[in-house]
Symmetry: C4
Subunit: 232 residues, 4 copies
């Protein structure tokens, strides 16, 4: 709401150029919808095996790969949602290209329940591990692309946005695909290490301690660059 109000002041009413700025409100609502559904559809991968001779506890223990995938994938989608939500906070308005990059992101998000069901049922299969990783990489890279498009030349953001905020978001969008690529490489020799990598990755985005680390890194990168430029 906040930034929508600010945008309101920045924008002329009924802009003649059709392809120019719309606000981000509708794409945000669509995004919240797609994320909410993708997150909740993950639960459909949970099914109790119909065995009447066992207690429910035993049945639940037996579907541990599905449970692990549910919690892991939910948190990963949470990481993406919160990362993108924070990025959109700084976007003043949204043009044609920005909207379509957003729709691409949602396309890759909405396929996650399928990739997750694949890795839950075939977690020992190299193909399932690689495809799950590739799915997550496409989300990350499209988010990076959209953020790059919006911030290069301050196209859709305020001119006074500190450089390290832009850097911070870029780092976070590009870190995950590197980790996934590593997981995919490990999958060639071992099927447990990639699963561990997928599971612990959210930690680096969720724990408040790491947020401060990310912020310090971004500030350091920006200060080093400005230092280098001023010394020339």
């Amino acid at each position: 709401m906040k930034h929508n109000h600010i945008k309101l002041l920045n924008m002329k009413q009924n802009v003649p150029n059709i392809t120019s700025a719309l606000n981000t409100f509708r794409i945000e609502t669509l995004e919240d919808g797609v994320f909410a559904i993708a997150m909740t559809l993950l639960v459909l991968n949970l099914k109790i095996p119909e065995t009447t001779d066992q207690s429910v506890f035993h049945s639940i223990v037996k579907i541990w790969p599905n449970l692990l995938t549910f919690f892991g994938s939910f948190l990963l989608l949470g990481v993406y949602w919160f990362g993108h939500r924070t990025a959109l906070h700084y976007i003043k308005n949204a043009d044609h290209t920005f909207h379509w990059l957003g729709i691409l992101i949602l396309m890759f998000v909405s396929i996650v329940p399928f990739s997750a069901s694949m890795i839950a049922n075939y977690y020992h299969d190299q193909g399932a591990i690689i495809l799950y990783g590739l799915n997550l990489i496409t989300i990350s890279l499209t988010m990076y692309w959209q953020w790059y498009y919006a911030t290069s030349g301050y196209r859709l953001i305020d001119k006074d946005l500190p450089a390290y905020v832009i850097r911070f978001a870029k780092n976070r969008f590009i870190f995950a695909p590197i980790a996934y690529l590593l997981a995919i490489c490990f999958s060639l020799v071992n099927s447990v290490i990639p699963l561990i990598l997928y599971t612990i990755l959210p930690v680096f985005y969720i724990l408040p301690f790491f947020v401060q680390v990310w912020e310090k890194i971004a500030k350091y990168q920006v200060s080093r660059r400005s230092h280098r430029q001023s010394s020339i």
Copy 2:
């Protein structure tokens, strides 16, 4: 948000005439919900064939018609969502008829996952190709109808909205059904050409280059008409 605020100033509080203007906020939220769900339900058409003797990669390759349908239908729904979202940007308020045309649009949108599952499983069947095309045509024509209703006599839009913006949206709503009709005709002699048409259609709506082409065409049409009128 933007146009909602502007509407706020244009509208009297608690208008005595019940059938007169409501704002477009609620129908937009409902629309974002229906689109988000229809888009995400498409993923339910993706199912890995349960064959334990094959790697997941081979299974994925075997369901290529389902994957193509998923990505194609998602992008087509994206085209519809973004087209309608842009059109609604210019709508000041929404009356009884406008709301109901909107609900009709959503009815045809919500049936897309069914049409898509049909064409994914029976892509060689002429009937599936035709019904998929008819489904998309009904969405397009209802959107055209709603836009025609809202803009004729500046019923629900601002009087100072440039004529070429109205033309631009009309062209885009009417172009798709013509392409689908063509696809349906081709389906009588060949089952591959229609599928290609369905797949490449989004390109004309998504690539920024084509947006400029659409805009030039709309401006040319409007200028030619005003020229003709002034020469009389």
Copy 3:
């Protein structure tokens, strides 16, 4: 949005009494979500019978009860959504009871896909017809109850809201259950008449002509009552 802004002015910040007025924004978003999902889940009742010896056209024709139920139930949910959306337009703020009546409404709305699948598969069964009708009656009556609660003594609406607007909404909320009750009675002797009643009912809410009729009736009722009161 409109009425939310107005409410903003009417309400004190951080009201001491917890059970007093919240705004209606969140319950409206939840409602749009539940309606969007219930409407889109209706499509899951559509399944093509897997027969390889038939064309898709023949298969589609064979599931006509499911198709009729899909379109009919979608339009009925549209009637409920639009009726409630219009009613909420006049609600200034929402207290504990108002919220809970709203959640009850959504509970009965979310069960519609189940009732619809029942009548689609067992449309010749009296029980299915009655349960479908009872489901719709509970939605109508809870909406009536909520509207009655909000408007009696101008509890949650503006004091200057014309009496015929209140009457108009009450009439529309109470008309449907009467028609459904009639359908249930007919189901005892005939299984086609109830289905026709369910199918044509939306017409009286959707066609703009009937909206004017409803409005005239409400105005007449109000004027007659005020006439009677002044003549005493």
Copy 4:
């Protein structure tokens, strides 16, 4: 909307510190989406047993545990939604930790349709009763944690918020898990008492009479504490 506007005034634009305050708008939309979907997915647990020799009425009666679970779980989710919605009304802005506690809440909410299907099909099984209770306890405790985080030291709320409002919400978030724990204990000796406890619990949150009781208790607790402090 109300509190979002107020926040607008309280917050500086494009705050340098990335981890500092965002508004609560987006997490609220996501929450409404997840709750709407979880509530509506409950209906997928309702399936008519396919027996052609029975009337639909008889089939419906036979799935009474599923129906009871549907209505009971829907009302419980309603209790959680409304409790959290009321709490968020008082939150001025949302930081990193607040967002992530919110995502955790939604994770436990989105798994409810699974727990509900488990208890509906295995209501006589102690494991199903315990897991259903544990699911509800995790939602309650995470909500309590988030509220505690937001209110301790007036971190994310207004300084002038009366102490009894904070107490009121805390009591309500902590009461449910105690009842669930009791239900789990009873499940060791009896499988009916826990089901009764799950079913009647919503009553204490829904009936307006009990809201006043909760409010009086919170006021009493606060007054007693301030009395004790002033007497020292």
